[in-house]
Amino acid sequence: GAGVSQSPSNKVTEKGKDVELRCDPISGHTALYWYRQSLGQGLEFLIYFQGNSAPDKSGLPSDRFSAERTGGSVSTLTIQRTQQEDSAVYLCASSLGGAGRRVNYGYTFGSGTRLTVV
């Protein structure tokens, strides 16, 4: 597609349930990022994938969070045993470059998944 696609756009789940959020990056973009946007808190880095390299998971807030990227394309962010503090908009972005690339590698963000834990 022309842009980064995320699904679902909205998700309401009960506390304690697991959720999976999906991201389809722009074709040909080797770098993929997940960020979390909480009200009034800006964007918080979660995880980064670059090609076949090991992902940078340093931003994941707890071991309930995990992500994978299959075939260098689609990514899934999984949150296990959801808590109310997990409620936020989860944004995925992709770019042409990554670490070491001295190019204008501006991110292209998807529209996000709004997660509400009740």
């Binding site: 980064y48 990554g98 529209s111």
Partner: protein, 113 residues
């Protein structure tokens, strides 16, 4: 520790006026400073970006001013229009880990007609 501080939190400007949003950073290793624009229900979109080897970059009505010694940079929107009403985020990244952007908390800009 918040590495990029953004102000003001919200801003109201009349049509035709100048909107100014400021950011300050702490990490002197940061070497890439983009601004993103976000409309409700959409993801942020890259607006303009600057590297510290220049003090100013202009694209249309949008200008970034950069002060390396003060560790500050700002976004100026000239001739502000109601269509500019959005949330603006500054960000920064550094060197070898320049893929990881650190964002400010955002400024909600409202341009009144």
């Amino acid at each position: 520790q918040q590495q990029v501080k953004q102000s003001p939190q919200s801003l109201i400007v009349q049509k035709g006026g100048i909107s100014i949003i400021n950011c300050a950073y702490e990490n002197t290793a940061f070497d890439y400073f983009p601004w993103y624009q976000q409309f409700p229900g959409k993801g942020p979109a890259l607006l303009i970006a600057i590297r510290p080897d220049v003090s100013e970059k202009k694209e249309g009505r949008f200008t970034i001013s950069f002060n390396k010694s003060a560790k500050q940079f700002s976004l100026h929107i000239m001739d502000s229009q109601p269509g500019d009403s959005a949330t603006y985020f500054c960000a920064a990244s550094r060197g070898s880990s320049n893929y990881k952007l650190t964002f400010g908390k955002g400024t909600l800009l409202t341009v009144n007609p």
